[in-house]
Symmetry: D2
Subunit: 320 residues, 4 copies
């Protein structure tokens, strides 16, 4: 395990664009069950009940759907500086330093070759729950208010890229991420790759763009404590008229128990549970799935639904 | 987060002594649901179905119960060497290099001030499942054979020490462990501390010895994917005449869902599930529980059973 | 199985007294997760999401806590008349016909020898969900709104009586109930008996009064679909400052997974799950537990908490 | 509710034909997790751990797959006699009295218009667990041995018929069954009907034959205590190379959580969990689903897999 692997601590937050801001916000608060930390200008800041920072989801009013930016937190100030130097030397597009979102300090922004915007930062403010959100157990960040699906913490996101191999080079070079699992297509290309920066099985996945888009998002995911939370969420989504795309079921890749829905503006959102699975081996060898294996569908034989291969946000004419 | 924190990758295995070897082995294989990787001389090597190394439990025939040694795997050869240098410079007792157990290479042994034996190593052999243990999903280490309680992986152990503050100094100095939660007694002493070396909430806990013993074990724990696995295990333990000490219930400290039993020789063994909880913050501040808070009992108000405070292995006259 | 056994269809509702009406109502709606069907004078009418009648809980403002009345629905008009004739001939106290609560027709009232008031009726009105409570699935009574613990349906209640044998004679004579399990004390008395009128394992339990009261309630219970619902409810109760008396755990008697709390006025309320257990045998022989077996505690060895033996409502000086 | 409705107590057992007897038996014992009660001639007698009779599945070596006979137990000797008289007067095909399978007394046999053989009986022998199957809790029929999927009790079966309306007349006339839910096709025919004789939501379903067969079986189902048991079973089936047809998912009709597999000879076998759902209303009105509603798929939007509409046993050329 390369020493640089420890410079980044974890996925911190994702900015999601919506062209139906009020409906999306209502969904994330009352159905998905996040907590509104604050709001300013065109954005709402949301968090799961055990996220330790101010927000893990920034929901921004926009003329399209899709992804705004992706933020990772560094392991220390020194680690941040090492990463910035490496990124600047890498040849990948640099945006430079920006004032951070509310709740964290200055962030260094850069782009992957498919125009997704990333940032890394160190300074942050631990979430201080207001009185009505103060938990009874002092080792969790916030009250377990049990509203909606109510996942525990942000888990990962999935981007689409025209060239997954090139995206992989970006993740390894800029963040020091490791690939834990990947799909090798019959034509030799990478069909998808799952990355982690810590002991989680993955915090970011990239799959090949098949809908004719560029810089698109496939989905954003929060983690629940149990699989039962996900079964229960399915009933909640059903009752609230949310489009359930597929699941609850179990992925073959990563073995994650999953449920995918489309929030009112069309962004795909997942709930996932990995059980006790972690990547603890420092010399973990990526698991490689063939195209044939992939076509078998999910772990228990469910065929992958067509929209899962084509729908991304913002939608395109070719795909969705 | 100190850079040294990344030198150790994870808790690897624990050696458990038993003075009822056959009964203990039968328990761990047929009731607890581990897999026998191999056996030699006085020891059996056991693993959970998704542990990636040869063994995570070494069960050794002995004239007493209790703990043999505790093994952590380093993050790289260089990291191992850094740790060895730090331990040698620390003043804590060094045993030195030993040939490792089957399945891993040379290990460096040393002792905490309460005579528990630790070892760290780098070289290992990834578990290669024999045909009848080969899984249908290539990203898990072994077949899910569903025999007994069948936990997924080793999780943590709990040692007893006469001075938890001194034990903490040992863990921070020798392994680079962080304290995630701790108990501060009214008399100022640490009543317990929970340590982690990675993103797990803890891989080792140390609580104050109250039974008059020295170098004792409180318990060894494996992780299940779900809380339901633990409820189901309670029925399995009941049907097999295994002493259920306490649980299933939820700890206030760490929020772990737990079940404690005594294996036939008397060593306390736990099954635990932490849901999606991880320690992702690189600058996590230890949660400090007061003696008063501790006396409230478990998360949902269950009073802690008396034997939990006194029973350790090997048993003593004063306690158990 | 005696033909009379089919005259009564099921436990229909329970009237609970509270001397903290507003707090109790807030608990039942927002924490326990029932739905308010309506309100009149001194009473609120509440229902679980899949109860098919207007209400299954009548919460009444009163100068004490405890039980108002217990209602069972008959299997038909003819069955109702047969039961009325049998009760009138039985020698047990008859109150006579009363106008029913909102949502059902005339009811015939009578008393057990310990002054608990029972009623039976036939005419009822199937609950018609208002628009905002209309479910997406047409085979359930109401929207799954997922607020609070949100149990599925009323399950059973537990009364206290000075003479359980005499109470048993009352239940067999007046309702045609069967005993499915019971406790035989060393002194020969019945310590408790569990009754059913249909395929449920029990809809009413009676245990010996040990707190010096008369006509008291031990608890009222709603059923959840899963054990996980109950684990989740424990966190909800904890966060809302509700006194958790004991559980989640599994009863030896009836094998029910349980959780007991005290609602704000002090009435004990349970959530329970019986899994797939039903009493299908028409010639089921009551399971008899000895005092020794009872003292072993719950299924997985949890000792029964002292208040469970003494607390009832309304409280007494001797007990609680 | 008609008085005749109480004459039959419950579905008792199903005889299943297999042309791969050894493989089917191995599946039912080691993978599905039933217990072998006994064996004679061409049949093995199997039971779930909490079935109270000798067997609930009779597995018979045969030149085809499919259904042998379906047995219901009467509520009393008098009730049995009433039913026999009603069946004899009904005009449906009578086979007459036969010696029962091991474990129960004489049975009266008759046929539905589609040549499925039914029997009803009263005399039975309560299962007496041999020493190694004796449970630690005296209120369950047998040890919870935790081998394989290990469901709790037989739940229901699903037959195929060319005319569901005529099948309904048979069930109402001969058994006094009630329809709890049904599908009304656009052409006016019944597409399916779900029947119950007690408080279960259904113990027998009949759906329209679309594969060109006659007298065929769609599936046989056992009930688990939890949904988690079914998720776990999916992993067990996967590891054992059993064909998973569809699920785990939740039916819209009846709201059952389900998983369908094909045992080695091709008979479809289900595991199901209904949560706390029961039919308690004596005047329950059948829920009617339209063809349009049915086409929406399962509760959470999963489209019904094609083989589910055509595969039955024995297979036909047209369907499967």
């Amino acid at each position: 395990m390369d020493e640089q692997s420890f410079d980044i601590a974890h996925l911190a937050h994702v900015e999601l664009y919506t062209d139906r801001f009020e409906e999306s916000l209502d969904f994330f608060v009352n159905v998905y069950g996040l907590t509104l930390s604050g709001q300013d200008g065109e954005s709402a800041y949301l968090r799961a009940w055990d996220d330790y920072e101010f927000h893990s989801l920034k929901l921004t009013r926009h003329h399209t759907t899709g992804i705004g930016h992706i933020a990772y937190r560094a392991s220390s100030q020194a680690a941040l500086e090492r990463r910035v130097a490496a990124i600047e030397a890498s040849g990948f597009d640099v945006i430079g330093w920006v004032d951070g979102d509310p709740g964290h300090g200055r962030a260094f922004r850069f782009k992957d070759p498919f125009d997704h915007v990333f940032e890394i930062y160190w300074d942050t403010v631990r979430y201080a729950a207001p009185d009505h959100e103060r938990p009874k157990l002092k080792n969790v960040a916030q009250r377990y208010h049990a509203r909606g699906a109510h996942p525990r913490r942000i888990d990962h996101l999935n981007l689409l890229a025209e060239d997954v191999t090139e995206f992989r080079r970006f993740m390894e070079t800029c963040l020091g991420s490791r690939v834990t699992e990947m799909i090798r297509l019959d034509n030799g290309r990478l069909g998808g790759a799952w990355f982690t920066i810590n002991n989680k099985t993955y915090d970011l996945a990239c799959t090949e763009e098949r809908g004719g888009g560029h810089g698109r998002l496939h989905h954003v995911t929060y983690a629940t404590d149990t699989r039962e939370d996900i079964l229960r969420a399915a009933d909640i989504f059903l009752e609230n008229g949310i489009h359930i795309e597929t699941g609850p079921h179990k992925h073959a890749i990563q073995g994650t128990f999953f449920l995918y829905v489309w929030e009112p503006a069309g962004n795909r959102v997942e709930l996932a549970n990995s059980g006790a699975r972690l990547i603890l081996a420092p010399d973990w060898e990526p698991v490689v799935w063939t195209e044939t294996e992939r076509k078998k569908g999910q772990a228990w034989g469910l065929k992958t639904i067509e929209t899962f291969h084509t729908h991304g946000t913002p939608p395109t004419k070719k795909g969705h």
